[in-house]
């Protein structure tokens, strides 16, 4: 090897080693940056707020990037469990409260018991935080809590001569009658939204502690009967298409075609975008009326959970803990009228001044919690079709609820006793 060749070889080696060094330092630098996969199921209005918060988080936490993916709400269970079984669950997921126990029971969630600080535990609303505890461990932190309430159009009320919203079921029927044909109340064919009537007439769904199925007892039947009667009354908006009736209900209410609906805080941003609610003070929020034997509305909400196979559990927890801080929850409250899940957030002046939130809080005071069980989310799958049969007359309320009770017993809660 002559000298020039040697020089060339040396130069080449030097060049290569510089490249390698650069690559090595680059990879060392990039290995510090973590990217979190984040699946979220919020509606359009809430997603806008969320995106702004995610940007803010990334700006203040260099080294953590968040890849936010939208998953339609009704596919969240199928998609999450499919991914989790393959070990490809996202790092962070927005779970409906019933999902937490179900996914934890299948082993898909990361255990957060050691991560949640004592201060946080004390600050979370107990009713919301209860859903994140299963089998003695903590599997998530609460994001939002809600319950459906009676939403009404104040202008239409004034025109019909009504000063205040109805507070009892009897008042609800008479108020509805004051509006024209089909303009009073929108009754949906959805079993989640019928629960206030079940509770109003003395019925219930389950007593988990006593292992009892109560959906077919006298009170529940009375509740369903009253609901069916309202559905067929002249003042009820004709709801002919149950699978599309959520959209139809929102459209009708937004356009001022119906005076009262039952819906939750998540829908208020959509409602306020409608022509009848250009002035937000026109939207009235009142607790669902009480019946002869009780009152109630189902507590719902969402939690942040972390996938079991996540390789970035620490960063993921940092992210969700940040999202659930009072300042961030106050943003959702201000922009989307969502109820925070921390006691400290309710001290925020913006939250305190938000009339819609204050009104929903009145509903939350008489809301009823659902049992924390893996099968909690599946009870509506059988309840819904049976209830629809009662609504369209192909089954009596008693028969419909009996069928529901039997289905729950055979599919979800074997060993429970059906109480009549």
């Amino acid at each position: 090897m002559n000298l020039s060749r040697l020089r060339r070889v040396a130069l080449a080696l030097a060049f290569v080693s510089v490249l390698v060094a650069a690559a090595a330092t680059a990879s060392v630098r990039s290995s510090k940056a973590v990217t979190l996969t984040f699946w979220q199921t919020m509606n359009t209005e809430e997603t806008a707020t969320l995106k702004a918060l995610v940007d803010k988080f990334e700006a203040s936490h260099s080294g953590i990037k968040v890849n936010m993916v939208y998953v339609p709400f009704d596919q969240r269970d199928a998609k999450f469990t499919a991914a989790a079984q393959a070990g490809q669950a996202p790092d962070v997921m927005r779970a409906e409260i019933a999902d937490v126990a179900s996914w934890a029971a299948q082993g898909f969630l990361a255990d957060l018991t050691k991560k949640v600080s004592g201060a946080d535990k004390a600050d979370y609303l107990p009713s919301a935080f209860a859903y994140d505890n299963f089998n003695g461990k903590i599997w998530g932190i609460p994001q939002v809590t809600d319950a459906p309430a009676l939403l009404y159009n104040k202008k239409m009320f004034k025109a019909a001569g009504l000063k205040n919203p109805p507070t009892t079921m009897a008042q609800l029927a008479s108020a509805c009658a004051k509006f024209g044909k089909g303009k009073g109340l929108f009754i949906r064919g959805d079993s989640y939204f019928i629960q206030p009537w079940i509770w109003a007439y003395g019925g219930d769904l389950l007593n988990y502690a006593k292992k009892q199925i109560l959906i077919a007892n006298k009170g529940s039947v009375a509740g369903l009967t009253a609901y069916v009667k309202l559905f067929h009354s002249k003042c009820a908006f004709p709801d002919k298409d149950f699978s599309n009736d959520y959209g139809n209900m929102q459209t009708a209410f937004k356009n001022g075609q119906v005076a009262m609906i039952v819906n939750g805080p998540w829908s208020t941003a959509d409602v306020l975008s409608g022509p009848a609610f250009k002035s937000s003070s026109n939207l009235g929020v009142a607790p669902v009326p009480k019946g002869p034997a009780g009152q109630g509305s189902p507590v719902g909400g969402h939690s942040w959970v972390i996938g079991r196979n996540s390789s970035n559990v620490d960063e993921a927890y940092t992210f969700i803990q940040w999202l659930s801080q009072a300042a961030q929850q106050a943003q959702f409250a201000a922009k989307n009228n969502l109820l925070p899940t921390r006691k400290s957030a309710y001290k925020d002046p913006d939250v305190r001044r938000n009339r819609i939130i204050v009104d929903f809080l009145t509903q939350m005071k008489v809301a009823r919690a659902r049992p924390v069980t893996p099968q909690g989310g599946q009870i509506y799958a059988d309840f819904g079709p049976n209830m629809q049969k009662a609504l369209n007359g192909s089954s009596s309320p008693q028969a419909a609820l009996d069928a529901t009770a039997k289905a729950w017993q055979s599919k979800l809660f074997p060993g429970f006793k059906i109480v009549h």
Binding site: A86, Q106, D241, S243, N248, P374, A381, N386, Q388
Partner: protein, 306 residues
């Protein structure tokens, strides 16, 4: 003997070689899942017991209990009833409307090519798009049909997707709309393959249009018709998209057919054992039916399937 085997192998190696790719793909994706599905049908597996990466499986073998429960249940009878109605009514209309259109298109006609192309549009449009389109059209009160009926004076139009009977009519209407083009095209080709000489001879013998149709055209169509009707029956029986996307099986399970009902068992209730049992039942029914159908066709003296 060995020489015959060796010759046999030498003759057929090419055939087997051509079949190997298909055999691998189908074996992996059809027969293996089928076997697993059959095994699952004898268990009580659900989402909590099926086991995954993070926890072992914990389901039990329960023998024929799934099958007993399914075959005894009211739901099974109801779903079976509508599946039969759905299949037969759909194929009936597919065939008759397809035949009428094929007959109309089998003549010299101005714009014939244009008519034929436009009539095939339902086949070209993706079925999930058509399903959404029809779902939108059937909406009360904001859909086209409701508003059309209201504008001509019918102020309380039926609940196309909400009433149990109307929902059945609506999904059948949509599937007929979807399926006619295929039948029309197949029957058109069959009509064109009918020997014109026979028709000329019949006319010379004094047969009128109806007699020619009944005695020459229909028998001539039989091979094509037999095949497309069998295909149509199988495809309609298993047609999942239309019902799932328009009514989801509702209202209150009124429009469930076996395919959608089994899907719901697997993906909503996560009762994998039961859903697999449904699958086995569906497959057995189709096999029995397919065997019977072919026997009937063979009896009629037409081509065998070889």
């Amino acid at each position: 003997m060995r020489r015959r085997l060796r010759r046999g192998y030498a003759q057929w190696w090419f055939a087997y070689a051509m079949l190997v790719p298909v055999a691998i793909v189908m074996g992996l994706l059809v027969f293996y899942p089928l076997v697993r599905g059959i095994l699952f049908s004898f268990t009580d597996a659900n989402q909590y017991s099926i086991g995954n990466k993070f926890q072992p499986s914990s389901y039990n073998y329960i023998g024929l209990r799934n099958f007993r429960d399914i075959l005894r249940s009211d739901e099974f009878r109801r779903v079976a009833g509508f599946t039969a109605v759905w299949t037969i009514v759909n194929v009936f209309f597919h065939f008759t409307i397809g035949l009428v259109l094929a007959l109309a298109l089998n003549r010299t006609l101005r714009f014939r090519g244009t008519y034929r192309m436009l009539l095939m549009v339902p086949w070209a449009v993706p079925s999930f798009i058509s399903a959404f389109a029809w779902r939108f059209i059937f909406n009360n009160p904001y859909g086209f049909l409701d508003q059309l009926l209201q504008s001509i004076g019918w102020h309380d139009p039926p609940a196309f997707l909400g009433d149990p009977v109307w929902a059945k009519v609506s999904v059948i209407m949509t599937n007929v709309w979807l399926g006619v083009p295929f039948m029309m095209v197949a029957l058109l080709g069959g009509l064109q393959a009918i020997d014109q000489d026979l028709l000329d001879a019949a006319e010379a013998d004094g047969a009128n249009a109806w007699q020619r149709f009944w005695n020459v055209t229909l028998p001539g169509l039989r091979p094509v018709a037999a095949t497309v009707v069998l295909l149509g029956l199988i495809w309609t029986f298993n047609m999942f998209n239309v019902i799932y996307l328009i009514t989801g099986g509702g209202p209150a399970d009124a429009t469930q057919i076996f395919a959608t009902f089994a899907y719901q068992d697997a993906f909503v209730f996560k009762l994998y054992g039961q859903a697999s049992a449904y699958g086995v039942i569906i497959l057995s029914m189709l096999l029995v039916f397919g065997g019977f159908y072919r026997w009937a066709i063979a009896r009629m003296g037409e081509e065998t399937w070889a």
